[in-house]
C-alpha cells in the first residue's frame, strides 16, 4: 500500500529564513509525487510535481528514491508562503494519496 508521511503538522519560520517541509513516502514501485498548497480562503491547488522538475514561487522539491523522500524547499521564505501544504503520491492508477499536511507560518 502507498503511504505519505509529513512529520511536521506545524512549521513556523521568520521571513527571509530557509524553509523545508518534509515528505516521506512508502511505495515499492516508481511513484509520481506532488506538492499541493491551500492558501487561506483559496482552493487547494497544485504547487509542483517532480516530473516537471521546475521551481514554482521559489519552491523546489527533489525526489530522493534512496531515502524515499520528496522534501519541499525554499531558500528565503516570504509571508505570502503561509499556507497548508500537502504532499501527495500516485502509483499511476486512478488514486492520489495525500499526506496529513503541514501548516506553514512565515512570521514578519
Amino acid at each position: 500500500a502507498q503511504r505519505v508521511t509529513q512529520p511536521e503538522k506545524l512549521l513556523s519560520v521568520f521571513k527571509g529564513a530557509p524553509v523545508e517541509l518534509k515528505c516521506n513516502y512508502s511505495y515499492s514501485g516508481s511513484p509520481e509525487l506532488f506538492w499541493y498548497v491551500q492558501y487561506s480562503r483559496q482552493r487547494l491547488q497544485l504547487l509542483l510535481r517532480h516530473i516537471s522538475r521546475e521551481s514554482i514561487k521559489g519552491f523546489t522539491a527533489d525526489l530522493n528514491k534512496g531515502e524515499t523522500s520528496f522534501h519541499l524547499k525554499k531558500p528565503f521564505a516570504q509571508e505570502e508562503d503561509s499556507a497548508m501544504y500537502y504532499c501527495a503520491l500516485t502509483s499511476g492508477g486512478s488514486r492520489l494519496t495525500f499526506g496529513e499536511g503541514t501548516q506553514l507560518t512565515v512570521n514578519p
Binding site: 509520481e32 482552493r43 499511476g92 486512478s94 492520489l96 496529513e100
Partner: protein
C-alpha cells in the same frame, strides 16, 4: 472560467437526515473525486469515477454513495448522516492521465452533523 463548482458551501444536518453534495466541472475531465478533509488527517478519498457510468470506492466510502450519469456531474449522497461525517468535503477532477494529471479542486462544502 468556473472549473469545479460545489454546492452548497455550508450545511448543518441533524443526525439521520440525508443530503446530496453537488459537484460539477466544465473542463470535460474524465476523472472526478470526492475527498473529506478532517483536521490533522489530510485528505481521504471517499469515491472516485473514471468516466460517466463508472465509479469506485476510495479509502473511506462507508455512509456515502455516488453516481456519475454525465461527464460533468458527480454528486455525493449522504444517507442517515452521523456526527462522524462532520467534515469539509472537496470535489476534484483531472484529465485523461488520471491521478498522474493535475487535480483541480472545488471550493469545498463544510458539513456539520449535530
Amino acid at each position: 472560467n468556473a472549473g469545479v463548482t460545489q454546492t452548497p458551501k455550508f450545511r448543518i444536518l441533524k443526525i439521520g437526515q440525508s443530503m446530496t453534495l453537488q459537484c460539477a466541472q466544465d473542463m470535460n475531465h474524465n476523472y472526478m473525486y470526492w475527498y473529506r478533509q478532517d483536521p490533522g488527517m489530510g485528505l481521504k478519498l471517499i469515491y472516485y469515477s473514471v468516466g460517466a457510468g463508472i465509479t469506485d470506492k476510495g479509502e473511506v466510502p462507508n455512509g456515502y454513495n455516488v453516481s456519475r450519469s454525465t461527464t460533468e456531474d458527480f454528486p455525493l449522497r449522504l444517507e442517515l448522516a452521523a456526527p462522524s461525517q462532520t467534515s469539509v468535503y472537496f470535489c476534484a477532477s483531472s484529465g485523461l492521465a488520471g491521478a498522474r494529471d493535475i487535480q483541480y479542486f472545488g471550493a469545498g462544502t463544510r458539513l456539520s452533523v449535530l
